[in-house]
Symmetry: C2
Subunit: 343 residues, 2 copies
């Protein structure tokens, strides 16, 4: 049973061994009609026997299809992205596609480079979650101009762009979270947002604002912060917030890392959660549920987002770009507020 040195097997070797032409082998392999049943099985057994595997470079060169999808994401270690990527990877694999995963590290320069690289690889489609700072999207033109469909999710272009767009309902998520705080009685609500160059923070701010206005609660600009959502930045904001009284009675955070940082800070200062300060995060990072007290947050259902992405990508691959033109309206996926001990 040991196949020693199977060596490079090509369609031609099979053809020669069977006294057939390469064309026939190819037809068998691609399930083309007009091939005799006897030859088909003869070929298949030989293919099995020598362990032939199609060379995707050769076939890709000929057909202009790689059966490979490119993915650009800021960081695969961010919880929501990890979950979404897992769903995408499993879904695409089930349909015979490979996935090339790239990380931009939230650097625009790297993102630009990656778009070029993925074009060079002639992937069949590209899925992108942008950098925090991507406001110009022309580096993706090389893809769209060459009929490689592009699909954005989560962090998507704010300006119109000829691509499929899938985003969470960030407006609603922030709206629900804010309304929840107000209904519990909070009035001095602080909001720690990400940079407003990114659609998700624009939308979340809008949801926050609308909830505040509808409930006739004033927004204190001194309690609003816009910056990259790192631990350091969160701590700086907290020092400002608790520099003088009155302290805020709630902090709405645009991600869970920031919410966790607020919780740690509160414990250090002896501020009781939720009695003196309520905390809400965003994304339902697993850490938010195991910490004490557990943190109220907004679930985005990353697995479902991944499935939507897969089905949209497959649609684009099947119908080419004509399907795109009418489908320019962004697809918005639902969110849900998860109430926990921090409120």
């Amino acid at each position: 049973m040991k196949k020693k040195n199977p060596k490079k097997q090509s369609i031609q070797h099979i053809a020669a061994a069977l006294q057939l032409s390469p064309a026939t082998i190819s037809r068998v392999l691609n399930n083309h009609p007009h091939v005799h049943e006897a030859t088909r099985s003869k070929v298949m057994t030989m293919v099995e026997q020598v362990g032939y595997k199609r060379n995707v470079m050769a076939s890709g060169l000929r057909t202009n299809k790689t059966h490979t999808i490119g993915l650009i994401v800021p960081r695969i270690s961010m919880f929501v992205h990890t979950e979404i990527i897992t769903a995408i990877q499993n879904g695409l694999h089930a349909h015979g596609y490979n996935l090339i995963i790239c990380q931009s590290n939230d650097s625009l320069a790297i993102e630009q480079d990656l778009a070029q690289t993925l074009y060079a690889s002639r992937v069949d489609a590209v899925i992108v979650a942008c950098t925090l700072f991507t406001s110009d999207f022309s580096h993706f033109d090389v893809l769209t101009d060459n009929d490689i469909p592009v699909l954005f999710y989560d962090r998507v272009p704010v300006k119109p762009y000829p691509a499929c767009i899938i985003k969470g309902d960030d407006f609603r998520g922030a709206y629900l979270a804010t309304a929840h705080l107000v209904e519990l009685g909070s009035r001095r609500i602080a909001y720690i947002s990400g940079p407003m160059s990114c659609n998700i923070y624009i939308d979340r701010y809008a949801g926050f604002e609308q909830a505040m206005r509808q409930h006739r609660v004033d927004i204190d600009p001194d309690r609003i912060f816009y910056h990259e959502l790192t631990v350091d930045n969160a701590r700086k904001a907290l020092h400002r917030l608790f520099a003088r009284r009155p302290y805020p009675d709630a902090v709405l955070c645009a991600n869970d890392l920031t919410a966790l940082t607020v919780l740690t800070f509160a414990k250090e200062k002896g501020i009781s959660i939720p009695q003196e300060l309520r905390i809400v995060g965003y994304s339902n990072d697993p850490r938010s549920s195991i910490v004490t007290p557990s943190i109220t947050t907004v679930e985005q259902f990353p697995g479902r987002i991944g499935q939507v992405i897969v089905s949209e990508v497959l649609k684009l691959l099947k119908h080419g770009r004509e399907g795109l033109l009418q489908e320019m309206a962004p697809i918005v996926t639902p969110v849900e507020l998860i109430r926990r001990m921090s409120t």
Copy 2:
């Protein structure tokens, strides 16, 4: 500045436009010697102007190099793997390589399929962290037989296999953890291990055993469990452990998820940590540090493991397989015990 319809650009179009032969363009693009400086710059400006990007399928077909590395991993969402993958991806990208990431979902059948697929894609090398249940490795033969180097990490073959092997010092990690517990006074130590089909659990058990023996503490077989490290399985084990007295006074867990489950269980039962029960985990999952009490665990330095993997892969790519033969000894990366409140 708008480049409308740049259309498929090939080396031949550039050649035609410049009255040169494709060979010359190729030489310029690959920095070959013996090309006149004037023509070189002429070609480069034209390449820039029309936005030409090499078709890697064509060049790959010719050179048998794809500049793509395959990665097979049980789940990208497992913390250690997420970190390692991030390091690998960044490291390889810096050297001009793409990464195709695949998940086996801990299924041997999928892993076998993926090995085939990656061979079909003619990746330049494959990096693998095996399934929990991979004990036969012949499905990777298709790669090694065709001179595609294979590199295993973390979960590696237990039998000799012609591949580069990189593993954490699981023996030492478990030894340190166990010795730590014994030195604190624990004597009735339970150990929740993963299935013994996998090298990491074999090694960890050996480390546990050696520490127990050296400190002359008896191992009670009723307090040892071998199973997939899920929450459900952990809870079953805990029910058995706490079905009758005397209760264990420490639980050593082969991963942090299990340690977290033990912690939750103890809180439910009103068992005080660490006074009545000490807990140690493995891997330093971020959750283990933010929970109260924080959990003592073993740090594996995933970022460093990723760097080692990258440098070994690059070595293999540079020297081909001859370097492999002498280098068959596994590379072992260090670990460190992190003491926290749970002990």
